[in-house]
Amino acid sequence: MSKINSITLEVISNGLLSIAEQMGVILTKTAYSTNIKERKDLSVAIFDANGKVLSLAQHIPIHFSSLFGAVEEALKRWDKSEIYDGDVFIANDPYTGGGSHLPDIALVRPVFYEGKLIAFVVNNGHHADRSRRGPTVYDEGLRIPVVKLYEKGELNRDIYDLILLNFQLKEERRGDIQAQLITNQFGADKLIELCKKIGLETYFEFCQEWLKYGEKKARAAILALPDGEYEFEDILDDDGNGNENLKIRVKLCINGDRILFDFSGSHPQVPGPYNCVRSALLATVYYSVKCLLDKTIPANSGFFDSIEVEAEPGTIVCASEPAPTFDRETTTQRLADVIFGAFAKIDPENVIAAGCGAVTFYSIAGQDARSGKPYVYVETIGGGNGARYNKDGLDAVQVHMTNSSNLPIESLEMEYPLLVEEYALEEDSGGPGKYRGGLGIRRGIRVLPDSENTMLAAASTERIRTKPWGLSGGLGGATSYLDICREGRKINEANKVRNVPLEAGDTVTLVSAGGGGYGDPKLRERERVARDYEEGKISLETWKACYPALEKTTGRGGI
């Protein structure tokens, strides 16, 4: 008799999730770099022996893209008979290593029990080192296909040295890789413990049933959608290399319990670092399905495999070698916008208006005179999120594919020779509507004299030209911009920049976009408009221009 039923399925999957979550805890705690530790730029997963995802603990949806390809590539490259207990694979390459951009380094450990390969435990961390960007993936850093860092428990010192040599912050990289190794070791031990307890037969049976369950949940959710075809398109501003208005489009085809996401017609791949490989595209699709169909669908391959995705190789959403992919997360934000837009045609109440649609970030590198050591400081800035059919959009949050936290100001000022001048909500940036879009963020940072050879290694934002769209009559949110100022004068023209030398006293200010509104602004309750005005979230001009039927009567407080 089968040992897997409604109860054991829940109990064992809970056990697996528990292992994945514990791995996430261990990686966060043992990691060395601020980026992994404090910003939790990491993901963890357990795969079955065939490379199917069983369980996933993620903090940032985009990260998944760098995770699930690695096992697949390993199984392509090695026959199962060549995979041994004690092996550890390392990979980051988007084209041969299952990654999605080079900073994400995945470590894969096969798990053996009673001499049998039973699973892979995998984790992935974003190694924020010297960021490199160029017209091809070769310009973006060291490419690591899936290689064995360990074989049968023996470290391949040559590979390890080769990898470390290619990074500027070696100690940090070493510490992070160490943490990743420990995390996988822990996961493997716990998985073996679980198998000991339930028996291998039950475990294998569970794997099958668990994937079926994922598929069942996904298909049930798809079946509930009305059959039909729904299209939507939008553009990315540019690739930072002069290629503008990059179209991204999707056609949803729903038929019974099948769903196809067809991205044909999207812009060809570009020389700027904004190309997505297929795994990044898939991560975005899975994220959207979870948000829009059923967030309780477990993130396993049973679910993933029941979603069909079509995209032409060589396009910005499904890039081919050697397209650069460093900043692919920005593109996945627009991909999510497009998918949400298509679903809005089925039922706008089930989606939200467009959010800031970017991973707004900057990376400042230099030499810290206080310690004499080089530093790299990376920060991503949230923005407004789209309004909902029944309430305003969230102000100042990370949207869609990312959800990393900021670095505390007091922490960053201690660590880097920089001073934060301003960190504020951007007034008037929320798209007007019956429900207002969320406000974007304004953040300014100044270079201090202790910083030498300072470089704005990169800064990027999106939605500079097109507003995040509103829904059902709601208007778009405000666009975003970048200001680099020297002695009070703006010195940049582009909004995506690379390698701009900075001097002490220069300030870099990024303003992210606001979210789109929902519903006709005329229908906005007077009280809400008045409160927004009172709080300085909208100006008098906006009040007059967008909510004309409403008269200003109250005074305005605040400084």
């Binding site: 043992t30 100042a396 605040g558």
Partner: protein, 684 residues
């Protein structure tokens, strides 16, 4: 004259009162429904009742110790004072931006915790300090005066002040406070450097704002309570705080946020005390109630605390007992999801309508119903007959569910328990791995009304060596209050590289904190012989952003020893260490004013024979569908040395303990039941 110590713990449903005769250890208890609108009604009313019931006189009441949830409830219900914020220019939105994270990755309807200060009540002053606390930009008098005017106009009842980097230099915050106090007397004010001297501005800001937000209400409540108690002759009044210690009413009024997580703290203190008596040093505690389970750890006799907790979505960096809460309790509802899997919780039937068997309109099967079906719980009545049970309703509810998953009623009831336990097990594993421990090295102590029901099963599931059920599992929080000491925690961030300082720099740094502790001792009039200082350092490898607490005791007399201690601790937590440079991040000092412990009732060895406590037996449904006879014991009749062999069920007024096959429970001299396995170490 007798010396009576009274502990009053206010819970969501009941206010529990425990009084103890300090000399004899005689324990007196009284329970009454909480008065939710004004907690003090039930508190004072209950005290009067217990005095009446046991024929006490107020003059005998030596100490009155109170665990209050006024602050916690105000936060949970976002109901507080009209609060203003004063902060560094450019940063008034910090409160709203937070860490930029959205509350849920996939739930588009999820919202952030409400912002407690509206934007127009957040005022900026042009001042700035750098990362060393050096003033870069001075406060300006004219701005201060303008601020006073605006605060007055705003009709704020409370103010919070936070300046960036003020954890190193409180000067500007103190200046603002002085000016506001001078011009706007009566306004409640707290500054970030008074609340916490730790870096990370958003968390410090939240703690400060919350403090001001709940301050006026808590102050009023405590003032009234003090007044009322004084009138009846009770003078020594103490308030329980989140780190499992007591403070004066005055301190609690100034720092009410310190009580924010105190609700479940007293129970853990009670466990710590009881376990110390019997020499059990490593403990995982579970406090299982109707809707949730609280989990905490005691390691080597010391309760694990944390500075990184949150209340209702608001982070607070104030040392607190590290308690994790999950939505799993007796009322947790079982349901079948769209993929056909059996889930339990986090939704709970609570006390109203409660599980189906309460017959108060609840139709869904809760964990309690599964226990009734299986025969774990009395199928006629609970709480000594105060709560009648209709077992047929439990059966119906579980049966409805069983049809959905195509299993029989017994299997389904078992499944509900197994799934419910797996949720608790998952959380216990997360909690222990986070701290670098393994549950197999710990004893499980279960309390709360439902804790003892789960103890034996969880002990097996986690392969723990023993489970211990205290004498009064349902009253442990009120009891714990009676065993607490005065305590205040001082923490100061000051990042130092060990390679760049002399060992004496550390001791120098502590002078200031010791001075603060000293004046606290004086202020609280704690006699010198009762004073104790405990030192710890939060340390990390340079470049990391996560600190670990390292005990800094007298044994450490050199830099080398400190490094060694850090490495040891790090190794235990993370299984590796490094040759990298080590940093101190926070200097921690706990000032403790000991309060003599009341005697604990004990009994000399009576004998192993427990047959005198047998009340009968009950048939319990087993996994294979068969029924097995469990002997039924009356806890009141169990004595020191009595051995109860499983399978058995032990009933007492407010709790039921299950002892499984291959387990036995031995009653110790303090009436704890210690459950262990009868054969070998493990059941596997």
């Amino acid at each position: 004259m007798k010396k009576i110590r009274i502990g009053v713990d206010v819970g969501g449903t009941n206010t529990d009162i425990c009084a103890i005769d300090e000399a004899t250890g005689e324990l007196m208890v009284y329970k009454l429904p909480s008065s939710l609108k004004d907690q003090s009604q039930a508190v004072v009313g209950g005290v009067k009742k217990i005095v009446e019931k046991y024929g006490l006189v107020y003059e005998e009441v030596d100490r009155f110790i109170h665990g209050t949830t006024v602050a916690t409830n105000a936060i949970l219900e976002t109901r507080g004072a009209r609060t203003a914020l004063v902060t560094t220019k450019g940063f008034r939105d910090l409160l709203e931006i937070g860490r930029q994270k959205r509350p849920d990755l996939y739930d588009l309807q999820a919202d952030k915790a409400p912002v407690l200060v509206p934007r127009n009540l957040r005022f900026e002053l042009s001042e700035r300090m750098n990362y060393r606390g050096k003033i870069l930009d001075e406060l300006k008098d004219e701005e201060l005066l303008e601020l006073v005017g605006r605060l007055k106009e705003s009709h704020a009842e409370a103010v919070a002040v936070l300046f960036l980097n003020a954890y190193l230099n409180p000067e500007n915050e103190a200046r603002v406070k002085a000016v506001i106090e001078k011009h706007l007397p009566g306004i409640y004010i707290s500054t970030s450097s008074e609340i916490s001297n730790q870096f990370r501005e958003f968390e410090r800001l939240c703690g400060t704002v919350l403090n001001s937000f709940v301050g006026p209400e808590v102050k009023k409540y405590l003032d009234n309570l003090k007044h009322t108690l004084e009138q009846i002759g009770i003078k020594k009044v103490y308030i329980n705080h989140s780190n499992g210690g007591l403070m004066s009413i005055k301190e609690a009024s100034a720092y009410p946020i310190k009580t924010g997580l105190s609700g479940p703290a007293a129970g853990v203190i009670g466990v710590q005390y009881l376990m110390a008596l019997i020499g059990v040093k490593n403990v995982i505690t579970i406090d299982v109630g109707g809707t949730s389970t609280d989990i905490s750890m005691i390691v080597d006799g010391i309760i694990e605390s944390s500075k990184d907790k949150n209340i209702s979505g608001y982070p607070v960096r104030i040392p607190s007992i590290d308690i994790s809460t999950i939505g799993a309790g007796g009322g947790s509802i079982a349901w079948v999801d769209s993929g056909g899997i059996l889930k339990v919780g986090p939704q709970s039937a609570g006390a109203e309508p409660g599980p189906a068997c309460y017959n108060r309109g609840g139709e869904k099967a809760a964990i309690t119903d599964a226990r009734v079906v299986l025969g774990h719980l009395n199928n006629k009545e609970l709480l000594n007959g105060q709560l009648p049970i209709d077992a047929s309703l439990s059966f119906q509810a579980v049966e409805t569910l069983s049809k959905k998953i195509g299993m029989n009623v017994e299997e389904t009831a078992r499944g509900i328990i197994t799934v419910g336990n797996s949720n608790i097990v998952k959380e216990i594993k997360n909690v222990t791995v986070e701290k670098g421990y393994n549950p197999t090295d710990f004893a499980l102590v279960a309390f709360g009304g439902a804790g003892p029901l789960h103890a034996a099963e969880l002990m097996e599931e986690l392969n723990m060596p023993m489970a211990i059920i205290p004498k009064a599992p349902g009253l442990l929080a009120a009891y714990g209050l009676l065993t607490e000491d005065m305590r205040r925690d001082f923490v100061q961030t000051n990042v130092m590289d060990l390679n760049h300082i002399l060992f004496s720099a550390i001791t120098d740094m502590y002078w200031r904190l010791e001075g603060e502790a000293e004046s606290w001792f004086e202020k609280e009039r704690i006699p010198e012989e009762e004073r104790e200082l405990a030192y710890y350092l939060d340390m990390r490898y340079k470049g990391q952003n996560y600190e670990i607490a390292v005990n800094f005791d007298k044994e450490i007399a050199s830099m080398e020893q400190l490094k060694e201690r850090f490495t040891e601790t790090y190794l235990r937590l993370y299984a590796y260490s490094s040759a990298d440079e080590i940093q101190i991040v926070n200097f921690g000092l706990s000032a403790i004013g000991h309060i003599a412990k009341p005697r604990t009732a004990r009994e000399d060895y009576v004998g192993a024979d427990s047959s005198g406590a047998v009340m009968g037996s009950r048939m319990v449904l087993m996994e294979d569908g068969s029924r097995e006879k469990y002997l039924l014991y009356d806890r009141e009749q169990l004595h020191c040395g009595n051995v109860v062999f499983g399978p058995a069920i032990v009933e007492q007024m407010d709790s039921t303990t299950i002892i499984l096959k291959n387990q036995k429970a031995v009653v110790d001299e303090y009436f704890n039941m210690v459950i262990t396995r009868t054969g070998g170490d493990s059941n596997e």
